[in-house]
């Protein structure tokens, strides 16, 4: 008798639980669809023509970085250059991991500042902003390799291609960044792709490797950091 009661009760509880889970899944799926729809370039264009420019409220992509979680495996560099150059080429990578002090590994890549000082600085109009992702796009025909953008960037992030005469800036792989995949596949999550409304906080990541190293070294090594740099 007792067994039967428990059985019935368990059955009810299970059905109720299943109902809740199903509702959750449906809701999430619907949300995901909306998000994919909203982010799809052609849809955005359509919405823009129908309801006018959404302007600042649009979600754009950027790559957040957690220096303390970076393992220094540099698989992001490998992924980046296999994608863009079809070979492994550390200095041609749009993301580069600086290691001025062992243990202090600094993934260094464009942060898409909201005011784009690099784009503004270009005398040849070679840089533009990707409407979909917010990435800085380089027009290789127009770029002369003058270096104005390197100097304009507060973090000196752009750098010249080692063998061709044009500037390298992260293009967010058109919306599906390979470096992030490499990092999250390994479970490190030092790099994350984030779609959100751009804010000025992004600009804070545009820093020189030396400055970032000083901060991270203090975090890792405490008082000893001063001796090591």
């Amino acid at each position: 008798m007792l067994h039967l009661c428990t059985g019935v009760w368990l059955g009810k509880a299970f059905r109720y639980w299943f109902h809740i889970v199903r509702r959750r899944v449906l809701l999430l799926r619907r949300r995901a669809h909306i998000k994919i729809f909203m982010n799809h370039h052609s849809c955005k264009k359509l919405i823009q023509t129908l309801v006018g420019n959404m302007g600042d409220n649009e979600e754009k992509l950027w790559i957040s970085r957690d220096y303390l979680k970076c393992t220094g495996c540099r698989r992001c560099e490998i992924a980046c250059t296999l994608y863009h150059e079809n070979k492994i080429w550390p200095e041609a990578s749009r993301i580069r991991v600086f290691m001025l002090v062992p243990g202090v590994e600094i993934p260094h890549l464009c942060t898409q500042c909201i005011d784009y000082p690099c784009v503004k600085s270009c005398p040849y109009g070679a840089l533009s902003v990707d409407e979909k992702t917010s990435a800085v796009l380089v027009n290789r025909e127009k770029c002369t390799g003058c270096g104005a953008c390197i100097r304009a960037c507060p973090g000196n992030i752009p750098h010249l291609h080692p063998s061709d005469n044009y500037i390298l800036i992260c293009d967010l792989c058109g919306g599906d960044p390979q470096c992030v995949k490499a990092c999250t596949d390994a479970g490190y999550n030092a790099l994350r792709a984030i779609w959100e409304k751009p804010t000025v906080s992004r600009n804070l990541f545009a820093r020189k490797p030396e400055d970032l190293t000083r901060d991270v070294a203090e975090n890792l090594y405490g008082e000893k950091a001063a001796e090591l740099i």
Partner: protein
């Protein structure tokens, strides 16, 4: 152009300030691949005819740092350091992880061969094709961390100036030695970063003997082109996928086994191998984790395992010590083997050993050997300039390490010659045979995996018959068991990735995708691998000038391994002399050596090594 290779080697003669470029034929590369194999070939070609006369610490010896075709492609980049070893007077291939090999290949070089001896301390700066020999007076005598700091800073600044048009560039990679190497201590390592060392072989002393403090390299090119890039991409994904699943080693590294090897397997050295059992839970990866690790996943170029961990002591008596995990070998050799069972103390010693430029295994072995001589009253407080060297006394042991690194005082100078040579000299001076306390195989101190309990991967002739002596990474069970390590050391990638065989078979696919050569596992085991082993064997047997090995007596375990274990679940277990003799003969037969352990003439000629055969006539 040969796929997977930059195509040229840097040939530097420090005696004459001569910098040249060498190219090696594809037929040679195809036979010896790179790293340990190619190193053995280059050494034999240049020094083979007068091998016994070459002093490993003299200007005639070569210092080689060689990459392989898979370096940078197979995840876990390493560089192989070799030369005539000041430990066994033969050839040992010693690999070390880091970004140095990547920078070197990107600079357009497959490897570096250094000969001669500089008048004054120097370092080599390689900036792509531009190579300079520069003064190292300002860094000579500096510890590891300071050396790396100064060189990274000054050379990065200089390179940034040279490439100002390109924007800022990543820092150059540095291969360096610490004070132990400078003072030609035979257990000195060649290092990268702070904690990465090529320990076996004593090549730190070879760099020191050449007055070469460091090699700094920056390359801005791509890795050399491969035969089939799409296949390489696929294989990278495949190997990574396997590695990602190895959660245990990824999370805790090799040091995880620090407790288990002692308590369960009974194969961890305790007090200079007098015991191999302990039940101290403070020794083991997880105890380091909570208190000291500031980075739980730390790796080198391309690594998908990241078994390294970054440890920092932030409080207490050892405050300021920085090291890696430590890994299992360091944990054992700087812990239980010195009677130390405190995680903080092990980390402190690990940090110190790295700063001084020791190999943790070989140097740790010397420290334990000395402590046992003190325990037995053979070395006294007077001999050791007032040091009271008791087991577990961290300060005394730290002091000993410093004194040996700088060769300060009569006995410290003797101990700097490594366990085997020091044992000979101390036996002579004291009139007591101390060789039974020296745990080495043919001059190379043994890795921290015992054979007595039979529960570890190391068994009977594992070390005794290995051409790398006590090296725990290249051990012998049958004629083929160490061939995979020979391959890893020659194609040059990390052997932790494939440790335990999870990537079996992919190595050969990788080699084909990178080089286009259809070398199979069978070819490697039957022809290419043995060739390298025979050259290493010939070099080891010829030895000289101070020590030569007499087969088959030298192909034996350290005397300690025949003493029954005094404690633990395997109490009473020991290696069996008759069994070892039998296994040794079996191995000789299988690998193609005669009953005395000398490679057979017929085998060498069949493999196309008539020069090696002729040289061995001297000892036949």
């Amino acid at each position: 152009m040969v796929r997977g290779y930059a195509g040229k080697f840097l040939d530097i003669d420090l005696s004459n300030d001569r910098i040249a470029e060498t190219r090696i034929q594809e037929s040679v590369l195809r036979q010896y691949i790179g790293g340990r194999g190619l190193g053995a070939r280059i050494l034999w070609d240049r020094l083979g005819s007068r091998w016994e006369k070459v002093d490993p610490l003299g200007p005639e010896n070569l210092f080689l740092a060689l990459t392989g075709p898979l370096t940078g492609y197979f995840h876990g980049a390493r560089i192989c350091i070799t030369g005539k070893s000041p430990q066994n007077n033969g050839i040992i291939g010693s690999t070390v992880s880091g970004e140095f090999p990547i920078e070197l290949k990107c600079a357009g070089w497959d490897g570096i061969v250094v000969s001669g001896r500089a008048e004054e301390p120097v370092y080599i700066l390689i900036d792509n094709d531009k190579v300079e020999i520069r003064s190292a007076k300002h860094i000579w005598g500096k510890d590891g961390k300071t050396t790396l700091k100064i060189l990274t800073k000054e050379d990065k600044e200089e390179l940034d100036k040279r490439y100002v048009r390109y924007g800022i560039q990543k820092e150059p990679a540095v291969l360096y030695i610490g004070p132990a190497g400078e003072n030609k201590v035979r257990v000195a390592a060649v290092q990268q970063k702070w904690t990465h060392a090529a320990g076996y072989g004593g090549y730190g002393a070879v760099m020191g003997s050449k007055n070469l403090k460091a090699i700094v390299v920056k390359g801005t090119g791509p890795l050399p082109p491969v035969a089939n890039i799409e296949e390489v991409k696929k294989l990278i994904r495949e190997t990574e996928k396997i590695s990602f699943k190895r959660d245990r080693i990824r999370r805790w590294g090799t040091g995880y086994a620090g407790y288990e090897c002692g308590a369960v397997r009974s194969s961890e050295p305790v007090r200079n191998w007098q015991e191999e059992w302990h039940d101290e839970k403070n020794v083991g990866g997880t105890r380091f984790d909570l208190r000291y690790w500031v980075k739980r996943y730390w790796g080198d170029y391309g690594c998908a395992i990241t078994c390294m961990k970054l440890a920092v002591i932030k409080a207490g008596p050892y405050k300021g010590a920085i090291s890696d995990n430590p890994d299992y070998e360091m944990e054992a050799y700087l812990g239980p083997n010195l009677g130390i069972f405190d995680a903080g103390a092990i980390l402190y010693l690990s940090s110190l050993i790295e700063d001084l430029g020791y190999s943790g295994i070989n140097g740790g072995n010397v420290l334990a050997f000395t402590t046992e001589l003190y325990q037995r009253g053979i070395l006294t407080k007077d001999d050791l300039d007032g040091l009271e060297l008791n087991w577990g006394d961290v300060d005394a042991i730290a002091n000993l390490a410093k004194r040996i690194a700088y060769r300060e005082g009569k006995y410290f100078d003797i101990l700097a010659e490594g366990t085997y040579r020091a044992a000979w000299k101390i036996s002579e001076l004291k009139g007591v045979d101390v060789l039974p306390y020296a745990v080495h195989v043919k001059g190379v101190e043994v890795g921290a995996h015992g054979i007595r309990s039979g529960e570890d991967y190391t068994k009977d002739i594992c070390y005794a018959c290995s051409v790398q002596g006590g090296d725990h990474t290249s051990t012998v069970r049958d004629a083929y068991s160490d061939m995979i390590t020979v391959f890893q050391d020659s194609a040059v990638y990390c052997n932790v990735i494939t440790w335990g065989g999870p990537i079996e078979g992919l190595d050969w696919k990788f080699l084909k995708a990178v080089t286009g050569w259809g070398i199979t596992e069978e070819d490697w085991k039957r022809t290419l691998g043995p060739r390298i082993i025979h050259i290493q064997r010939a070099a080891e047997l010829l030895g000289g000038p101070d020590v030569s090995w007499k087969p088959p007596e030298s192909d034996d375990n350290p005397p300690r391994f025949y003493e029954p274990l005094p404690s633990g679940p395997y109490k009473g277990s020991a290696a069996d002399r008759e069994e070892i003799k039998r296994r040794r003969q079996e191995y000789y037969e299988a690998i193609g050596w005669d009953e005395r352990g000398i490679p057979k003439s017929s085998v060498l000629r069949k493999l196309g090594l008539p020069d090696v055969d002729r040289a061995l006539d001297k000892i036949r």
